[in-house]
């Protein structure tokens, strides 16, 4: 028996009503090694991690820790065994301090009284070990996302984890923050922690991990040492089909100017300038990539274009018509639409159906007099389901029943149903699997070919380079560079963004 194996799942199956989420999967975690887990959405990654963290109970199969059979029937039990998990959505209380978050539910006490000073001191030591100068008394809500992620890690370290699972830890991080995170992961591994790393970013995943395991449709289809494989191999195993040559957008057959932005400047009420004189133009049939790191002002730029910050200075022209302080709904009527960055937070309405989510923006189009016409709604939605290849078991179901990629397509459909001429996409493929990502890219290309102007905001180099005709780079609220897609290189883009 391999003594290096800390935690092991043996032929674990998880049966949900109507679907087998995991089918006899075996998975080993090695001491001091980083094991990457990849697969398209719905492949069973989260379920497997859930089993290992005591969140999901397996229908069949066994779990062994240090060679001894264990039953992880609760998160507390997993916690007690030193198994920690950091979810994609951070589980922190923004209203509490860093130290209070780190020691949440296992507060240090002295004679039954909270030992604030002791907690702060230990938090400070933990953060020092992570080489992060975060003030333990700062409120978590005041920290940037990258530092919040560090706090999550510190929280896990405070519990002396032996196994740490991270579900897409970098999806919201900038390149600099990712570098810090990777250093920490390597340090943890060097201290003997077994790390499970889930990500959709293949290059990044190959860089950090020692082993990769690929899940597809609930089965473990491939395992390899990371050093022996490349991104192409991963994509092939994930999708089960050979990787085609990567399509790129090529040069645009661009038409007349649709949108012109002149000198947009925005200062937040806190006094922080987020946009400083941003100017750009967008032509019909063109996909304009906007690349930048977190905090570069990309999202704020799109928000200003949609009229969310009436206090913004500068001008936006749609078809040479100045938009001024036009309300969001009027901008949509004028031909603009946005697919927002955080699907769950800004995009979906979880309590209503797939259909209602899809038709929300274009309701006026589906009305006959004062009434909504269910027939008109259904016809339009059915066209979108076909056109965008949205996989849904029924339009009347809750939106939560769709996978991430299909949820994103529903939001794209919502935009398209308003008949936009300018489409703003903010990280449209974040948290969606490789297959859906490709499909979304081809949808964007098709829309541009039909004459729509598209602004594609992304923090993935690969994405802007593959999908955009022209790329502008933003950094600290300014446009710092502009490239034709054919001339952009990773290093030039990264340099302009930093």
């Amino acid at each position: 028996m391999n003594t290096d194996v800390v935690l092991e799942a043996r032929e674990v199956s998880v049966q949900y009503p109507g679907t087998l989420a995991l089918d006899s999967v075996s998975f080993r975690l090695h001491r001091g090694k980083v094991s990457a887990l990849i697969g398209e959405n719905g492949a069973g990654k989260s379920t497997l991690v859930g089993v290992l963290a005591g969140i999901v109970r397996p229908t069949r199969g066994r779990l062994r820790m240090d060679g001894v059979e264990v039953s992880l029937d609760s998160v507390r039990r997993a916690d007690a065994l030193g198994i920690g998990i950091i979810h994609q959505e951070l589980n922190l209380c923004p209203n509490l301090s860093v130290a209070e978050n780190i020691f949440l539910a296992r507060e240090l006490t002295r004679h039954g009284v909270l030992d604030k000073r002791g907690q702060q001191e230990r938090a400070r030591r933990l953060l020092a070990r992570l080489e992060q100068p975060i003030d333990p008394t700062a409120l978590v809500g005041d920290l940037p996302l990258g530092q919040q992620q560090i706090v999550e890690i510190a929280k896990a370290l405070a519990r002396n984890v032996r196994v740490l699972m991270m579900d897409e830890p970098t999806s919201a991080l900038s390149a600099g923050e990712i570098a810090v995170l990777f250093r920490i992961i390597r340090d943890l591994a060097a201290h003997g922690v077994a790390v499970v790393y889930i990500s959709h970013r293949l290059e990044e995943l190959l860089e950090i991990s020692d082993y990769v395991s690929v899940l597809r449709d609930g089965r473990m289809v491939a395992e390899a040492a990371a050093a022996d494989v490349d991104a192409r191999w991963l994509v092939e195993k994930m999708t089960g089909r050979p990787a085609g040559s990567e399509e790129t957008a090529g040069a645009a057959r661009s038409g007349p100017e649709l949108l012109r932005v002149e000198g947009l400047s925005l200062t937040l009420p806190s006094g922080r300038p987020v946009l400083q004189g941003v100017s750009l133009s967008l032509h019909a049939g063109e996909i304009l990539g906007v690349y930048g790191l977190m905090g570069a002002g990309r999202t704020e730029l799109l928000e200003c274009l949609m009229g969310l910050h009436p206090e913004v200075a500068g001008s936006v022209f749609l078809d040479s018509r100045r938009l001024g302080r036009l309300h969001t709904s009027a901008r949509i009527a004028a031909g603009m639409a946005i697919v927002p960055e955080a699907r769950q937070v800004d995009g979906l309405v979880p309590s209503i159906s797939v259909l209602a989510n899809m038709t929300l923006s274009g309701l006026a189009k589906f009305s006959r007099g004062a009434w909504l016409s269910p027939a008109a709604e259904r016809t339009a939605a059915a066209q979108m389901v076909n056109g965008l290849r949205i996989k849904t078991a029924g339009l009347g179901l809750e939106i939560g029943s769709l996978s991430g990629g299909n949820q994103q397509k529903v939001i794209i459909a919502r935009c398209l149903l308003t008949g936009p001429r300018v489409l703003l996409l903010d990280e449209p493929t974040r948290g969606v699997d490789v297959g859906a990502k490709r499909e979304i890219h081809s949808i964007i290309r098709r829309l541009a070919e039909e004459g729509m102007g598209v602004i594609l905001v992304s923090s993935e180099l690969e994405e802007v380079r593959a999908a955009a005709h022209r790329i502008v780079v933003m950094s600290r609220g300014r446009v710092t560079a502009e490239f034709a897609a054919s001339q952009a290189t990773d290093s030039a883009l990264a340099e302009a963004a930093s």
Binding site: T19, L308, P340, P350, S361, L363, G400, S403
Partner: protein, 337 residues
């Protein structure tokens, strides 16, 4: 839909019929035309309030002021009918036609709702606080107008041309009392507004995810404003019905009515978090409360026990609601993977 899901969805209706069956079996008086008419007339009061409340709760808010608004509307109508509008400088007293009085009182209710709406939508006051404030303010206004007294004898006088108000409470049409017709009208209008118009869909969206609604082009402030106006209007209607039934207007009318209305909405399966629920459910919820109260009275259960039982039923309903949502989420997760 699986049978289990169907049972869950229809739970309020099942509870309603089960309660009715038990009471019918235990008390021969329950299923008599006389008792049922009284029962439905009681339900009508709460149901109309709850229709307005449903819109507010669907939008993610709450309206605590409805009871006070009912009281205020009743007092305004009572004052105008009984003492007229005194124009002091001119030394004239103006009496309005009773239907104009009704319209004015309804407008007053809508106006309080508009104030709530402005506070919530424009000034971003938490709905609980904004409507708690107007709960006091409207009640105080009612007491000020009547100086704490009751306006009696709202029948009106033929020589003043303001008779007819009482038919709102005591009248009948095609054998059904007017309040029941009004409930049917409000419920139908509410159900169509919520389920079949763009406005209704937007209310759900605002309650379900306000940010998403904004970015989808929903004018969130307008929607929020409108739901409080609707609620105020419904509350005023209730105040008028009660004043007409009693033929007098008392400034304390409607105290704690907001709680019954919220209970009906919740029993009907509408989520207090907003974005989920229906007018149909609310009407069933109002009937559950009404049948429970009526049945327990017929069985001679102590008034105090009735209150305890009502509380327990509401808690049980919310627990069931939680169970259903967990079940739906599990089904959704299963579909996703």
């Amino acid at each position: 839909m699986t049978p289990a899901a169907l049972l869950f969805r229809l739970r309020a209706l099942i509870v309603l019929f089960a309660l009715a069956a038990v009471f019918a079996w235990m008390s021969p008086a329950f299923l008599t035309a006389g008792n049922l008419t009284i029962l439905v007339k009681h339900v009508a009061i709460n149901a109309i309030l709850a229709v307005g409340m449903t819109f507010v709760i669907l939008s993610g808010g709450i309206d605590l002021s409805v009871g006070s608004v009912a009281g205020l509307a009743g007092i305004i109508a009572g004052g105008l009918l009984h003492s007229g509008l005194v124009l002091r400088p001119a030394g004239v007293v103006v009496y309005f036609h009773s239907w104009l009085v009704v319209v004015l009182a309804l407008l007053a209710g809508a106006l309080v709702g508009a104030a709530n709406g402005l506070l919530v939508a424009q000034l971003r006051v938490a709905p609980f606080i904004a409507t708690l404030g107007s709960l006091y303010a409207a009640r105080g206004a009612a007491l000020l107008i009547s100086n704490g007294a009751t306006f009696p004898n709202l029948a009106g006088r033929p020589e003043l041309g303001n008779t007819g108000f009482l038919s709102l409470g005591a009248g009948a049409f095609l054998g059904l009392p007017v309040p029941i017709w009004l409930m049917l009208a409000f419920a139908t209008a509410g159900a169509f507004l919520a389920g079949r118009t763009p406005f209704g869909r937007r209310v759900y969206a605002v309650g379900g995810n306000e940010r998403a609604a904004v970015l989808s082009g929903v004018r969130v402030k307008q929607v929020k404003f409108a739901v409080y106006v609707i609620s105020g209007f419904c509350a005023a209607m209730v105040g008028l019905i009660i004043a007409a039934q009693l033929a007098s207007a008392h400034p304390a009318t409607g105290e704690t009515f907001e709680l019954n209305a919220i209970a009906a909405v919740v029993l009907g399966g509408t989520s207090l978090m907003g974005g989920r629920g229906s007018i149909g459910g609310t009407i069933i919820g109002a009937f559950v409360i009404g049948v429970l109260a009526d049945g327990l009275i017929l069985l001679g259960v102590s008034e105090f026990w009735q209150i305890v039982i009502k509380g327990l039923v509401i808690i049980a309903a919310v627990i069931l609601d939680q169970m259903q949502q967990q079940y739906t989420r599990r089904m959704a997760a299963a579909l996703r993977s």
